[in-house]
């Protein structure tokens, strides 16, 4: 459990932040310059707050009232910086083991397991300047992991990477979350990065917490939609695996109670049989119909109720729908809106073109 309540003023910028989270992964999301990275530095002990408290589980890291200010090297946290910050004068292996031989930290993690998971085995003898951006970032993650951290702080771990490398690195981060069970705080300016990792989302703007909560509720909020922009409005839906159509390689996911008939069919690489999944659905991928269409290739058709109607731009409307108690957005043209005669409370069917697993 991370409990944070801090104030910090510097260079005319005021940071006043309070949130708490016991989620495996907490994401701090906001525009660049919102103060996200500074929050990580405050937690890590690299920047001193003006006042407030930082408490991790039972340990007080900082408290201005009682005068506690644990120095960074004694906080036992792992930090992964945006620009990797490997030691240029040590090879990869020496970098990875730095916390052990220089910081005197013992880890229960097996060195070879971390190396294998991050795909670093063939790089151990290399010097950092001979690594690619993605490789550097993986070494930095491994180095932080092997410092036996009670909390892992990741500052835009994916931002400096291209799409290709981002795709390659994400599974590593998920593996760390699921395998090593080390709680993480991830900073990102891209919601498409964070929704895949985090359960708890904190939106930061101009040094303040704007919205906070689980990923689904934060995505449904206005604050989030505002920040996503016209083109990217989307919702996160939670669904349970309720069955399979093995002949087609599809997994059946029910939103809410299976008896409601809100079922999504999806091809999943790693189908585990049971459990909850989070799906990211863009508003532009959701069409609305007044009756259930029968002759269409679209398989995903969810019964929904119109909850809210907003003007999106000159030609589009944003319809907020309620699907079994969860929020789904649909972006349709004004013309369609007029022809369908939509109004709040009206029952519709949401037709979903594509679904991304979150």
């Amino acid at each position: 459990m991370l409990n944070l309540k801090i104030e910090k003023e510097f260079q005319g910028f005021k940071l006043d932040i309070a949130f708490q989270s016991d989620a495996p992964v907490t994401a701090l999301f906001g525009r660049s310059g919102a103060g996200k990275s500074t929050i990580l530095k405050l937690i890590a002990g690299l920047v001193k707050p003006d006042k407030g408290t930082i408490v991790l589980d039972d340990t007080t890291l900082f408290d201005d009232v009682s005068g506690v200010d644990l120095p960074a090297h004694k906080r036992g946290l792992g930090m992964v910086f945006q620009d990797a910050r490997l030691f240029p004068h040590y090879d990869v292996k020496t970098n990875l083991t730095y916390a052990n031989w220089a910081g005197g930290r013992k880890t229960n993690l097996e060195f070879s397991r971390v190396v294998d998971l991050l795909g670093l085995a063939h790089l151990l003898k290399r010097q950092p300047q001979n690594l690619s951006g993605g490789e550097k970032q993986r070494v930095a993650i491994g180095r932080a992991l092997l410092s036996n951290p009670s909390l892992l702080l990741l500052d835009e771990p994916l931002a400096s990477l291209d799409i290709e490398r981002k795709r390659a690195l994400l599974p590593f981060l998920r593996a760390i979350r699921d395998e090593f069970k080390i709680p993480m705080v991830v900073v990102s300016h891209d919601p498409m990065d964070v929704h895949q990792l985090a359960e708890h989302l904190v939106i930061i703007d101009e040094g303040q917490v704007v919205e906070e909560g689980n990923v689904r509720s934060v995505f449904a909020s206005h604050a989030m939609q505002e920040r996503l922009g016209e083109r990217n409005q989307s919702a996160v839906i939670e669904a349970n695996i309720s069955g399979f159509e093995r002949d087609y390689g599809l997994t059946l996911l029910s939103v809410g109670n299976p008896s409601l008939g809100a079922t999504i069919r999806l091809h999943m690489d790693e189908s585990t049989g049971e459990g909850m999944c989070r799906l990211l659905i863009h508003a532009r991928d959701v069409a609305l119909a007044l009756s259930k269409p029968c002759d269409t290739s679209l398989q995903n058709c969810l019964p929904a109720k119109v909850a809210e109607i907003n003007v999106s731009d000159n030609a589009h409307m944003l319809i907020t729908c309620d699907v079994a108690g969860q929020t789904l957005f649909s972006q349709i043209t004004k013309k369609s809106f007029d022809e369908l005669g939509l109004e709040p409370g009206k029952t519709v069917f949401a037709l979903i073109k594509s679904v991304a697993l979150a």
């Binding site: 906080r75 910050r85 220089a102």
Partner: protein, 494 residues
């Protein structure tokens, strides 16, 4: 506009007028005289009274050690008259075909004396004083006064007993200052030098038989300059000779110096080169041993911290680079000498700098300090704070961060600084000679030895050998540092 042009014309005419005023002065007869430093006060007064009698003649006097002047004359310096403090340098010019033996005349003679500080309570015999403690004299390897002093002490069977007490100086005026400040108990000087000071007393006069005749030969070099002939003759008039006598020189009247020129007072320098090289390396190495860690600390402070008076510290560190070395050397002598505050304090702990090789190392280290700090500071400033932060979050405390991040990453700067400083220490001259003098086997490092050999008419070969060696050492040091740093770079340090 017209007004402006008028103004310009006015300026030009003023300029022309002022030029016209100086024209007669430049057409005045000029006599350029090169003279040994020991003659300065006497010759200044003689030329002043000469110019009263001969306002049309301008006497320009240039003083330096006889050896320096003779070598400049051998290289065709535009000079009319040369007054040397030794006949050897006249003979050197005869050999170089710059002067004819018959043109050389003896201007004056001098006497060698032993002096002690005026207010000394020590009434012991002069022999006892020399045997008991430190005394100063000129360096017998090339300073004429030192050569005579060694001859006299040898004649008195004292040289073997007292030579280890001798502080050898480059310049007899420096020796005089040392006795005046009581840094040494006694000094062997010329009678003419003692005349200048009221803080010295003569405790012994050597007899002429103890040493070769101390003669000041003079020669006219430019037969075409009539004014030079007039001044040359004036030097032997009653008035000029009595001025010389007033300054402690023995008047000789106009006599040819040929018989004085028969003997050679300079010994052939036997260059024991290894001790000189070894001493130079030792001095430079010890200087770096102490200066490098200190310089790194200062560089670290300047690179990483903001504090009040930082600009002052920065300027202070750079001063040895811009201050005249002789000033640095003299300040060191005042502070670290046996009479200096710090010198006295350190002597309680058995640390002594004055006229010791340790002092040479101190001077070298101080002069090299700015060269050490600069590359170190730059290399520390180049270290990414982010990497330091990373080490911090990985559990490294202050000392570990210093050991595992700062030190290895600034190593190229440390090496570059140390090599530069080492080369500077080998070459240090001005501050060293002023602070600890030029004592063979004690403070005579490479450049001082080269200088000494150049002071002697027979020292050319030894000087050249040492010059080549010092060039080789300097080149070797720089090559070594290049190799080390390129190796570090290959390893991926930066």
């Amino acid at each position: 506009m017209r007004c402006f042009i008028k103004y310009i014309w006015l300026l030009i005419s003023v300029f022309l007028m002022s030029a016209a005023v100086t024209v007669p002065a430049s057409s005045q007869d000029r006599v350029v005289v090169f003279a040994a430093s020991s003659m300065k006060d006497a010759l200044d007064q003689i030329s002043a009274s000469f110019e009263v009698d001969h306002p049309e003649i301008d006497i320009i006097l240039s003083y330096a050690s006889s050896g320096v002047l003779a070598r400049q004359i051998a290289n065709d310096a535009p000079v009319d008259l040369f007054v040397s403090a030794s006949t050897d340098w006249m003979n050197y010019l005869v050999e170089q075909s710059q002067v004819k033996q018959n043109d050389i005349k003896s201007l004056a003679e001098n006497q060698l004396v032993v002096v002690a500080p005026e207010n000394t309570s020590d009434n012991s015999d002069w022999r006892e004083i020399l045997e008991r403690g430190r005394f100063v004299m000129g360096d017998p390897s090339h300073v004429p006064a030192g050569i005579y002093a060694k001859q006299a002490l040898t004649a008195q069977s004292l040289w073997v007993k007292v030579s280890q007490n001798a502080v050898l100086t480059e310049n007899i005026r420096v020796a005089l200052g040392i006795v005046e400040r009581q840094e040494a108990g006694a000094g062997i000087l010329y009678q003419s030098d003692v005349q200048l000071s009221d803080r010295l007393q003569i405790i012994h006069r050597f007899s002429d038989k103890d040493h070769a005749k101390i003669s000041y030969p003079v020669v006219r070099l430019n037969a075409a300059n009539d004014a030079a002939g007039i001044f040359f003759d004036y030097l032997f008039t009653q008035g000029a000779q009595s001025t010389l006598a007033a300054y402690g020189f023995n008047s000789v009247g106009a006599q040819t110096a040929s018989e004085a020129a028969d003997h050679q007072i300079f010994e052939n320098p036997t260059p024991y080169l290894w001790p000189i090289i070894f001493l130079s390396l030792k001095v430079a190495f010890v200087a770096m041993l102490f200066a490098v860690p200190l310089a790194y600390a200062v560089a670290f402070l300047l690179a990483r911290y903001e504090f009040r008076g930082k600009a002052f510290v920065q300027a202070l560190v750079m001063t040895p680079l811009v201050m005249p070395p002789v000033v640095t050397g003299y300040l060191l002598l005042l502070l670290f000498g046996n009479k200096g505050e710090i010198g006295q304090f350190l002597s309680y702990f058995g640390v002594e700098f004055a006229f010791k090789w340790t002092g040479a190392a101190l001077a070298a280290g101080l002069m090299a300090f700015p060269l050490l700090v600069r590359p170190m500071r730059l290399s520390i400033e180049a270290i990414d704070q982010g990497v330091v932060d990373a080490a911090n979050t990985l559990g490294a405390n202050v000392w570990t961060r210093f050991r595992t991040v700062f030190l290895p990453l600034s190593l190229p700067g440390i090496i570059a600084g140390a090599v530069l400083g080492f080369a500077k220490s080998l070459g240090e001259f001005g501050a060293t000679i002023t602070f600890v003098s030029n004592i063979p086997d004690e403070t005579q490092t490479l450049s001082l030895a080269i200088y000494s050999f150049l002071q002697s008419p027979n020292g050319d070969d030894a000087a050249l050998t040492l010059m080549l060696i010092s060039i080789a050492i300097a080149l070797g040091a720089v090559l070594l540092s290049e190799m080390v740093s390129s190796r570090l770079y290959r390893k991926g340090q930066m």
